[in-house]
């Protein structure tokens, strides 16, 4: 007997229903609120044109996320490169350390940074005791602090996709390049880097998208002056009760991410990026 649809779909059907009910439902609700609260229409979206504050918050968010993504991916690339060229036990140890850092809570990290780099932190007091500085260096409670905290959090997320991409490279192509007279630099820029491009793109996407939702790190390490969109949404939901504005910003984030993925998909197969079969 032939089913009109492949039987595999029946197996995933319960999960599709769960996703539909518990994920799409609330998202549709948010979209609905964004065009109905407080009055029906596109007033909430019109604020983007009229409010300097909203535009500044979105710009801060994009700027911080872009800078953080760049640093995380560059650092992640170096770490992945070192890992892929380490041998057996060393590589497992490195992977272990990387995974452990996933388990450290964001609050612990945040307050550790304050201990280390704060005004009276370990670094500033050491430099001061050595007579290198006369006034503390303001590492924290500003945009630099936010970037340090965010990059530190995101590096492991950048390493894993790049590491996976590097592992799948056939080492013989590098040898071939060298044996045909390519220099080390040429081999890296023209052979190795292009081959790891899917990993780099995946890492950038993952890091950027997770960054967009950062809340605790900017709120604490930014000293109140680096206001990013996630914190602003939370204030509008919990304190000022402007749910329409909050829903509109959430919708903008959602569509922004979807648009980003669409643009990426014009350049490469997203399934490759996320580890799907290469067809």
């Amino acid at each position: 007997m032939r089913l009109p649809i492949k039987s595999g779909w029946l197996l995933v059907l319960p999960f599709l229903l769960l996703v539909g009910g518990l994920f799409l439902g609330p998202i549709l609700n948010v979209l609905w609120i964004s065009v109905t609260d407080p009055t029906p229409g596109l007033d909430n979206y019109a604020q983007l044109g009229s409010s300097d504050t909203l535009r500044r918050i979105l710009w801060t968010t994009l700027r911080v996320c872009a800078i953080c993504t760049a640093f995380s991916v560059i650092l992640g690339y170096s770490i992945a490169y070192a890992m892929v060229h380490a041998t057996g036990p060393a590589q497992s140890r490195m992977l272990g350390l990387l995974l452990i850092s996933f388990w450290i809570s964001v609050l612990v990290r945040t307050f550790s940074w304050l201990m280390l780099l704060g005004r009276n932190g370990v670094v500033n007091s050491t430099l001061d005791a050595l007579g290198i500085i006369s006034a503390p260096i303001p590492f924290m409670r500003n945009e630099l602090g936010v970037l340090i905290g965010m990059v530190h959090y995101m590096v492991p997320y950048a390493v894993l996709p790049i590491f996976a991409a590097m592992q799948s490279i056939d080492g013989r192509v590098v040898q071939a390049s060298r044996s045909l007279g390519g220099s080390g630099a040429q081999t890296f820029w023209r052979i190795y880097l292009p081959l790891t491009k899917p990993g780099v793109v995946a890492a950038s996407l993952v890091v950027f998208i997770i960054n967009l939702g950062f809340y605790v790190i900017p709120a604490v390490l930014g000293g109140g002056k680096v206001l990013m969109v996630a914190e602003y949404i939370s204030v509008q939901v919990l304190i000022t009760l402007q749910w329409g504005t909050a829903a509109m910003l959430a919708a903008i984030l959602l569509f922004g991410v979807l648009a980003l993925m669409f643009i990426m998909s014009r350049f490469m197969k997203l399934s490759t990026v996320f580890g799907g079969a290469r067809t």
Binding site: T53, R56, R119, N120, A219, V235, T240
Partner: protein, 368 residues
């Protein structure tokens, strides 16, 4: 909608039967299952709120123990009704969401009096029963239709005694004067208290603050923005001070005493021009515990409860009788004591209840 109400009633009766031991746990859970309540949430105390008990929604930590010992014990002794806690923090948005969803699981929120104004207006709160609760056991003007002030906290500032050996800052004007008193400051990042402080610094009389002139306040605040960092929670405010990140920092007044003690007096609290904030009890519309909650609020007004809360959390009693009975050594830390009263300003919950959105968003736009 009717079905939902019917199931609620059924559940409520089931829960009461369960509580009284007339129904087996298994049958009760089966009933909950039929009603569509996940048993996990039942076990977590959600539907159990229906079974004659009062659930207080507060901020957790120390305040859970303190409310239990100061108010809960006496209340349970008098009424036989136990006090339970939800410690997720009753912010306005969460209360609104809970009431709108029709699944109200809390009876009384440890909130602000301006929340009573804002949410009372939109129909999210139960009116208080002033035949049970006593209007005279609070400060004049702090017994409103939808909420009553039980304790006071406040906004004041602390300074580092080592930073200013030649003469300490004594007023908000000094706090905002970075030429005379150099060093980093900290302010509360969601406008409350910070706006009043700025206006007092700018010369506005403490009893003529409201309606707040937001633009004037923000001008003062942005003038010292380069020397200011902003905090969002009490523990953050405290760590900014004790870790030496700021030379002067705004704090919640009730925490000042413990910071002074912990630092052996290095950081000192300035009570002059402190802003007294009415912390209030409010009741979400359709609370599961019903009218018992009014008795709970009345218990919280009693002198022993008020004095215990002060000892436990540093929150100033609102019942004048409790203030009168306070020990001499506690008086300076009680924001409305006879000695402090001429120095401090009183928050206007009605202005904040009506203007929170404008004030907070203008403040955020100015500091970010």
């Amino acid at each position: 909608m009717h079905d939902k109400n019917f199931m609620r009633e059924t559940l409520l009766q089931g829960a009461q039967a369960f509580q009284a031991g007339k129904m087996q746990r298994r049958s009760f859970l089966a009933l909950c299952g039929m009603a569509g309540f996940a048993s996990a949430s039942v076990l977590a105390g959600k539907a159990e709120a229906a079974a004659s008990e009062i659930v207080m929604w507060n901020w957790g930590g120390q305040s859970e123990e303190c409310h239990q010992s100061a108010i809960g014990a006496a209340f349970t002794k008098d009424t036989g009704v136990p006090l339970k806690f939800d410690t997720s923090g009753p912010l306005q948005g969460k209360i609104k969401e809970m009431v709108d969803s029709g699944n109200v699981t809390a009876d009384v929120c440890d909130a602000d009096l301006f929340d009573a104004v804002a949410l009372g207006k939109t129909g999210h709160l139960e009116a208080l029963d002033y035949s049970v609760i006593d209007k005279t056991k609070t400060i004049d003007g702090y017994a409103l239709e939808f909420g009553i002030s039980i304790i006071l906290y406040g906004y004041a500032f602390m300074y580092d005694t080592q930073a200013y050996p030649d003469g300490p800052p004594t007023s908000w004007a000094d706090f905002f004067d970075t030429a005379k008193f150099p060093g980093t400051r900290s302010l509360y990042k969601w406008a409350n208290g910070s706006l009043e402080a700025a206006l007092m610094a700018d010369g506005v009389e403490k009893d003529k603050l409201y309606p707040l002139d937001i633009d004037r306040a923000l001008k003062k605040i942005t003038a010292i923005k380069a020397d200011t960092i902003y905090w969002g929670s009490g523990s953050e405010a405290q760590s900014m001070i004790v870790n030496g990140e700021v030379s002067m920092g705004m704090v919640w007044q009730n925490r000042g005493r413990s910071i002074e003690t912990e630092t052996n007096g290095r950081y000192k609290l300035v009570m002059n021009q402190a802003l007294a904030m009415p912390g209030a009890y409010i009741v979400p519309k359709g609370n599961p515990g019903g009218a018992d909650v009014m008795k709970f609020i009345a218990t919280a007004q009693s002198v022993p409860a008020q004095l215990d809360l002060f000892a436990c959390l540093g929150m100033t009693p609102t019942n004048p009788e409790a203030i009168a009975q306070m020990a001499e050594v506690d008086q300076p830390y009680s924001i409305t004591s006879a000695a402090n009263m001429p120095m401090i300003a009183l928050n206007d919950p009605t202005w904040w209840g009506e203007n929170t959105d404008t004030a907070v968003n203008a403040f955020l736009a100015a500091i970010s």
